[in-house]
C-alpha cells in the first residue's frame, strides 16, 4: 500500500469535508450537523472546534503562531494565515517553536505552538529551556496513534506524549469532546500566560478523526 503523504492544506475556498483523509467532526457538539455535511463556504464560518480555538487565540491576543502541520490543525492554520493580527510561522521541526516562544515572550508578544503528538518528542530539550526561564508556552497537540489509528508507527510517540511532556514540566490537559475544545484552550491559555507555565492541550484523535489511508 502506498503511504499517503501528509494531508495537503486545502485551497481557501474548498469545503471542509473535502479535505482528503479527514473524517473528524462526528463527535462535534453544537454545529456538528453542519460540519459533517459541510459543502459550502458558509459552513466554514459556522461553529467548529478549530474556529473556537481561533476565537480563543484572538481573545488572548496571541500574535505568533508556530506550527508543524497536522491535518487536525489544517482548518486552524488556514484561519491563522488569513488573519492579519496573527503571524503564521511554519516550522521545520517543533523544537523551533519552543525557542520561538521564548523570543516572542522576551519581545512582549504571546505565541502558540501547534503540532501533532509525534512532534512532542522533538521538543523535549528545548522545553527544558522554556521551563528554566519560566516562559509561558501554550501548545495545542492533535493526537495521533490513539483513537482508531491505522498506522502502527504513530503509536509509540503517541503513548509517550503525556509522560514525556509531563517529565519536562508541561502541564498536560486533555480534551476529547469537540464542544469542549474552546473552553479548554481558553483555560489553558489563561493558565499559561497568567502563571508563566508550559501548558499543553491534547486534542483527542476522537475529536480530530482518524486519518484514512485510502
Amino acid at each position: 500500500m502506498k503511504i499517503a503523504a501528509k494531508t495537503p492544506r486545502p485551497p481557501r475556498n474548498t469545503d471542509w469535508k473535502g479535505e482528503k483523509g479527514f473524517t473528524g467532526m462526528r463527535n462535534a457538539g453544537q454545529g456538528s450537523s453542519h460540519e459533517s455535511r459541510a459543502t459550502s463556504n458558509e459552513a466554514r464560518s459556522s461553529s467548529s472546534w478549530p474556529d473556537d480555538i481561533h476565537r480563543v487565540l484572538t481573545d488572548a491576543n496571541v500574535r505568533q503562531v508556530g506550527y508543524v502541520p497536522d491535518s487536525g490543525h489544517a482548518r486552524l492554520i488556514d484561519l491563522v494565515r488569513a488573519d492579519k493580527r496573527m503571524r503564521a510561522i511554519p516550522l521545520t521541526t517543533e523544537e523551533e517553536g519552543a525557542a520561538l516562544a521564548v523570543g516572542a515572550w522576551l519581545g512582549g508578544e504571546r505565541s502558540v505552538l501547534l503540532m501533532q503528538s509525534s512532534g512532542a518528542g522533538n521538543c523535549i530539550n528545548m522545553l527544558g529551556m522554556v521551563n528554566e526561564c519560566r516562559v509561558p508556552l501554550l501548545t495545542l497537540v492533535t493526537m495521533r496513534g490513539q483513537w482508531g489509528e491505522f498506522n502502527p508507527w504513530q503509536v509509540p510517540m503517541s503513548q509517550a506524549t503525556v509522560p514525556s511532556l509531563a517529565a519536562i514540566g508541561v502541564v498536560v490537559q486533555g480534551v476529547d469532546r469537540a464542544a469542549e475544545v474552546g473552553e479548554t484552550v481558553a483555560a489553558a491559555a489563561r493558565l499559561a500566560f497568567s502563571t508563566c507555565r508550559m501548558v499543553a492541550v491534547l486534542i483527542s484523535q476522537r475529536v480530530v478523526g482518524a486519518k484514512q489511508f485510502k
Partner: protein, 199 residues
C-alpha cells in the same frame, strides 16, 4: 577540504561588534558566545542562553518579529547553529528585516573537548543561509572585513547571516547570571518596562 586558517580572536570580535550596539537586542548562543557576550559588558538587553542548544536563532526570530523597530543580533557558535539548521529556512520564510545571525565560527565544539564541527570539514553555513533565502550572507576572515560588516549588522535589511572565522584559542571564562528566569525577567523589564513585564 582545506579551510583558510582563522586568525581573528573571538573575544575581540564580539567586543568590537557590541561596541556599536546602541539599543540593539542580543541573544547569545550557549557556551563560548555567551561568555564572549558577557565579557563585552553585561547588559540587561542580553539574553544569555546556557542550554536549549539549537534554539538561539529561533529566539532571535521570535524577538525580531515582536520588536520590529529594534535591531536583533543573534551571536552564536557553529555547533549551536548546526543543531538548528532548519531555523535558517524558517527565518528566511519570515524575512525579518531587523535580524542578523552572527556565527562565531571556531570550527570546533569548544565546550565538549574541541571536536571538529562540520564547518571544519567545509560545510558552508553562509551558503546555506543564502540558499534558504537570507538577504545577505558572508564569511569574515580578517579585521578589515569585520570592520565593513559591523555597520551592516545594525543597518542592512535582514535577515542577514555572517560567519566569522575565529581561532580556537581559549579565552578566560566570563560567566553571566545563569538563572534563566532572572535573565528573562531582567530583559523584559529593560525592554518593556516593569508594569508590562509583570502584567
Amino acid at each position: 577540504m582545506a579551510n583558510k586558517k582563522p586568525t581573528l580572536e573571538r573575544r575581540k570580535v564580539v567586543a568590537d561588534i557590541l561596541e556599536h550596539r546602541g539599543d540593539a537586542l542580543v541573544v547569545a548562543g550557549l557556551g563560548a558566545p555567551t561568555w564572549d557576550t558577557a565579557a563585552a559588558g553585561d547588559h540587561a538587553l542580553n539574553f544569555y542562553t546556557w542550554g536549549g542548544m539549537g534554539g538561539a536563532a529561533m529566539i532571535g526570530l521570535g524577538l525580531a518579529l515582536a520588536q520590529p523597530k529594534r535591531r536583533v543580533l543573534v551571536i552564536t557558535g557553529d555547533g549551536e547553529l548546526l543543531m538548528g539548521l532548519g531555523s535558517l529556512a524558517t527565518i528566511a520564510v519570515q524575512q525579518p528585516r531587523n535580524l542578523a545571525v552572527i556565527v562565531i565560527d571556531n570550527e570546533h565544539y569548544g565546550e565538549t573537548g574541541m571536536q571538529p564541527t562540520h564547518t571544519r570539514y567545509g560545510v558552508d553555513l553562509p551558503a546555506m543561509a543564502r540558499a534558504a533565502g537570507f538577504r545577505s550572507a558572508g564569511t569574515v576572515y580578517t579585521s578589515p572585513q569585520l570592520k565593513t560588516w559591523i555597520p551592516r549588522f545594525y543597518r542592512q535589511p535582514g535577515p542577514m547571516f555572517c560567519s566569522i572565522k575565529v581561532t580556537t584559542e581559549d579565552a578566560p571564562l566570563v560567566l553571566p547570571v545563569r538563572d534563566g528566569t532572572a535573565i528573562k525577567n531582567r530583559f523584559r523589564v529593560a525592554l518593556l518596562g516593569i508594569s508590562e513585564a509583570y502584567k
